[in-house]
Symmetry: C2
Subunit: 698 residues, 2 copies
């Protein structure tokens, strides 16, 4: 450890007023009840669960987060392995459920090398393997004897799964599949848990039987020796190197040179090759699997709220502690002292809409999960009844299929919107912290870097918008020719078509329901416009991509507004019962702020669609938003407190719950490992280091 500073340094305190007192005043000055609000957001059980597990995790030296910030990749990846092993050990010791283990992994604060083994590898074996394959692979995998990954993406192929180059060719002579990488671009790439820890991989490869390509299928391939952990023959595997974030994960590459695997290694729950006749066959329906991606995306929407909220919590608390300048009017009036930057309208305008968005995304994610679960239950019942034995895409399933198609599209658009808001919002929060936001001790940068891939994985955010547009166009055609199912999308289109000629004049400034209606109207307008350009003007798909992106964004914004409305306005009485009147009122203000800032930023679209007058846009800009910022400002700290992030989780000097911002920054800076070195600073000397106080440890 670094030596303690001299006595005169130890005596120093920050100039007053202290951050501690400022935050205490913020909290007592607001009637928003952050504890009851926390229960509304998370539920009492989840809060207790997190508390209990955090105590266990944070007590372990290996889960110290401060050291990670200065580490290079060689150290980071070893530490990640050590943390991963500790997590597994703790899980055994405390007999954690899957859910508890996941909570523990999240609290530990960085992805670890077992992440994709625990996730996609086990899930794929479970969902796509036969009972025999569960015996062969899954049981060992669950005991961590087989450690695996899910190898789909290739060096030259991301979103387009059908374009994968890796081949699996059936050899009827010896009843094997030959796994092969015909080109360098066929190398598996970005595969988490592959670079260092996996000894097995589920490999997605083009299945060739008798010269015919049946498309990508999953194969279990043994890649490293179980004892030496060295790559097996004709396997070339390794880590893909440093990244913008996620450096604790061993994302890997993998190449095959005509590697033979047994017939049993093709995951055969839904498709298989008959080993006797060499016929390719389908069995059962993978329809429940289709839901997995929807479920994953719904979770991303839910998480985007809390992911953004971390940055907002840090930036808001720090803005209440950090003082800078006087207000210009106060200065001219000769009023002394600097003002907390949270009092500046420009800072409010940057932070509070993000606070509102974090709540909106959370309620939207929750709404989607509920819908998804209800539908999944309905489908399971139906499948058990045996009505859906044919192979089918989501659109063809019944009942629940119409809803599933709607949910699928919804989840695509909302995943794109939610993760984009969170990613951009986190960076906005970091910048709102001024210079100190750039320090790793702000806690925002490292979190942002690790969160960033969410904008790309599970469907690139731009690519996904095409799926939404395609669905909107299809539904619009259905509405026009009377074949559309009765779901939310169809209803807003019908409503628009019925009222289009009489026009709308929504009062977004004074009527909460009109806000929802205006967003629905704009979505419908953009959909019908897209339909006209595509079907009437016969414009090329490519030329419409920007329009489609706009449409998907608009529709997803509508969904957030509608879900937010349902949660806090429609259900206002229930909310009041849970959190009390002042808190319920603050939630309504957050709803309005999210809606009106989104409305204002897209004013031209609302105006062109005929949803509102220009006066509404103008008034929103000059009065509406400003009044909401004033209304929410006093409750900002309590509203971020309700997210219940512990100091251990935030790992942020600026976002300290007690406001001891400067003490914490100083303590961390002082003890950072670079301060163990004494330089020889003269260019004339070849020596770099005169003295080292302690050796930086691996």
């Amino acid at each position: 450890m670094a030596p303690p500073p001299p006595a005169w340094v130890q005596k120093l305190v920050p100039s007053s007023p202290r951050g501690q007192d400022l935050l205490a005043a913020e909290r007592s000055g607001s009637q928003v009840d952050s504890d009851r609000l926390a229960q509304l957001l998370h539920g009492k059980e989840d809060l207790e669960l997190k508390d209990r597990i955090e105590k266990i995790i944070s007590a372990e030296k290996v889960f110290d987060k401060n050291e990670l910030l200065s580490m290079g990749r060689v150290d980071r990846i070893q530490r990640s392995l050590a943390r991963g092993k500790t997590l597994k050990r703790l899980s055994d010791k405390h007999q954690w459920s899957k859910e508890e283990y996941k909570v523990a992994a999240n609290i530990s604060g960085e992805p670890n090398v077992y992440g994709l083994h625990d996730g996609m590898f086990l899930v794929t074996l479970r969902e796509q393997g036969t009972p025999e394959q569960h015996k062969l692979f899954l049981e060992k995998a669950e005991r961590s004897e087989y450690i695996g990954c899910y190898a789909q993406t290739e060096l030259g192929h991301g979103s387009n799964v059908r374009g994968l180059e890796t081949t699996a060719t059936w050899d009827p002579k010896d009843k094997t599949f030959v796994i092969h990488s015909p080109h360098l671009t066929a190398s598996k790439w970005w595969i988490g848990s592959l670079g260092k820890v996996a000894n097995h991989a589920v490999v997605m490869a083009q299945l060739f039987v008798n010269g015919k390509n049946h498309g990508p299928h999953p194969f279990v391939v043994h890649i490293r020796d179980l004892k030496t952990h060295e790559p097996l023959e004709n396997i070339y595997v390794g880590d893909i190197g440093p990244k913008f974030g996620y450096n604790s994960m061993d994302n890997g590459f993998l190449l095959f040179n005509h590697v033979k695997i047994p017939h049993a290694n093709m995951l055969a729950r839904f498709n298989f090759v008959d080993p006797v006749t060499s016929e390719y066959r389908r069995v059962g329906s993978p329809s429940l699997i289709y839901g997995t991606l929807t479920w994953v995306r719904s979770h991303i929407v839910l998480d985007s709220g809390s992911s953004l909220a971390r940055g907002v919590a840090i930036a808001t608390r720090y803005a209440a502690v950090r003082r800078q300048f006087q207000d210009r009017d106060a200065e001219e009036a000769g009023i002394g002292g600097e003002t907390p930057v949270l009092n500046y309208k420009m800072v409010q305008a940057r932070l509070l809409p993000l606070l509102a968005a974090s709540y909106g995304l959370h309620f939207t994610g929750r709404g989607m999960m509920e819908l998804y679960n209800a539908n999944q239950e309905a489908m399971k019942k139906n499948l058990a009844g045996g009505t859906s034995k044919r192979s089918a895409g989501p659109e063809e399933l019944n009942p629940g299929a119409d809803l599933l198609a709607d949910l699928h599209s919804t989840s695509c658009g909302l995943k794109a919107l939610g993760s984009t808001i969170a990613v951009d919002g986190l960076e906005a929060c970091r910048r709102a912290c001024g210079g100190h936001g750039y320090s790793s001790y702000s806690g925002i940068g490292p979190w942002y870097s690790d969160y960033l891939p969410t904008a790309t994985w599970e469907g690139d955010n731009y690519m996904l918008t095409q799926q939404v547009a395609r669905y909107m166009l299809k539904t619009a055609r259905g509405v026009l020719n009377g074949t559309a199912p009765d779901n939310e999308t169809a209803r807003i289109l019908k409503h628009y078509l019925a009222r289009k000629d009489t026009g709308a004049a929504f009062d977004v400034l004074n009527n909460d329901q009109d806000i929802v209606a205006a967003f629905a109207w704009r979505t419908a307008y953009l959909t019908m416009e897209a339909l006209r350009l595509r079907d009437k003007e016969k414009q090329s798909w490519n030329s419409l991509l920007v329009h489609f992106w706009r449409l998907s964004t608009a529709h997803s914004q509508y969904l957030v507004v509608r879900n937010f409305y349902d949660a806090v306005v429609r259900d206002h009485k229930a909310v009041v019962a849970q959190v009390g009147e002042p808190t319920a009122k603050a939630l309504i203000d957050l709803y309005r702020l999210y809606a009106l800032t989104t409305f204002e930023a897209n004013g031209a679209e609302f105006f062109t669609s005929g949803a509102v007058t220009t006066a509404q846009i103008s008034l929103t800009r000059t009065k509406g938003i400003s009044a909401l910022l004033d209304a929410i400002r006093p409750h900002a700290v309590n509203l971020v407190d309700a997210w219940s992030f512990s100091d251990y989780v935030l790992n942020s000097s600026l976002g300290r719950k007690d406001g001891a911002v400067y003490e914490d920054l100083f303590a961390r800076a002082r003890t950072n490992p670079v301060n163990d070195l004494v330089f020889d600073p003269y260019p004339s000397s070849d020596t770099l280091i005169k003295r080292v106080d302690r050796q930086a440890k691996l």
Copy 2:
């Protein structure tokens, strides 16, 4: 080094078509002459200078850039010192001028620990020291015996220099100043070159003489022993820890416990304390110093163009190589093969406006530098004539003062706009590279991380907009009461006021000059609106901050559009003579694309100001921009080539000039140091590492 891969891996090549062939086809398919355009952008001499110096730098092992990406901070900072020493040695060997040294430092690719010594420390001693002080300090500093930094920012104080807490109290008894940190928040913070290498600091401290505070002044303080390099008594100094970027710089902290320094150590060119009478005095005029910040900001504007262009060059080349899916229409028509993503309208809409912005910012920065130099010359002549001996802020100087005030405001707004466009644009480029954009080998992430502070330093981008607004309001009042000077800002306001009632109907789609006029009109409208809210409606300064930020942004966008217009439309004939007709035409298209995308994104403001009809906005969206994307698409690669970034400078697999994207990514991944480790992956074992191929070196 990592062992070579097996023969079967060595034989693998990417699937065709190869990146090399795709880029070659892009280049031969366009008539844009990237070589001649490069000369227009940079000048032949600068290009040759850079080439010459890059050969020297890239030949040194210590300047290998690949290794840096995996290093932790302890290694990074030592490597930075080694690189810094090498730079100094090369500079001596080749007898580089200051300019050549700076070029070399830039090419080396990361800030090094001497950066602030070479910059602000020497500059401050030179500009603010007396000839005696030059002997005492500057000469030794130029020989690197004194290594220094510029210590202004404090833990609790950034933008508000007047709020600094560090004190320098004159002690008439022993003719010394006592430097002291009264609180923890007084600690100097973020000071580059302070954490590890400096043995001296120029410290900005509140000067107290006989109990009176004369505000912040600069003092030279000796902080580390010249031999042992250990901190001197009552000095507490160190490195502030890991950051989002800039980890090769030893940004430091510094605390003083009543440290006495001689009278000679207060830099006394403009102010001093009479050692006999203890009187505080001003001498001479610091007016030329006032220009320094303007000069620095103008440079940031110029650099923002090329900084952004690096990301655009990488993303554009990669988008021409990376293929994904078929166009949906091609797919339906059964046309095979994947298409380069640069053919997708959505990708064009994300990248090409940034390409246009990079050119626009470059021409704007150049225009500002020219104006600044001309004005500085004029002022020097005038000062030599002795008419301006009084102490004065920029507004009070004459002649050139009106121009300087305009330039000052212009530089504030453009610094904010330019660096914001560059920062956000670089991240947009990174994301446009899809998954591989997240790899450090993309070259964008590391560059982005190091460039990011530009949005905060030399004036926070949001804070600066207040200065612009203040100046705009002042000029508007001057125009109304007839006292405004004749400068650009006043002229656009006068023009607007004269025509306001008859109204405007600019044809932004068909008339290049009308575009400039529309931007000027919108600026003037927002200025008069701000004036009305402030002076007539008496709204508080704080309540107007968002409006001011809009105004500053609008005005700066006008300036970019106007400078871009001057450079490529007004001077079209000269440009044709330099680069030929097709290239000159492409530059005009870039001008239009920058202007129209900016116009479209702010459509509501243009419409409300009465500059255009809604039809113009609508047509710009549906036709205008799309047509420009089509026109520029074929020239995209040649237009980024003209920036003349070498592969060594870009350090990017994705942006390789030859298009060998996948070969390069694979080669780097394969040899990354994490691949030297063989893990013990089993949670049941405490061992982490089974085997290490080579030891990761410091």
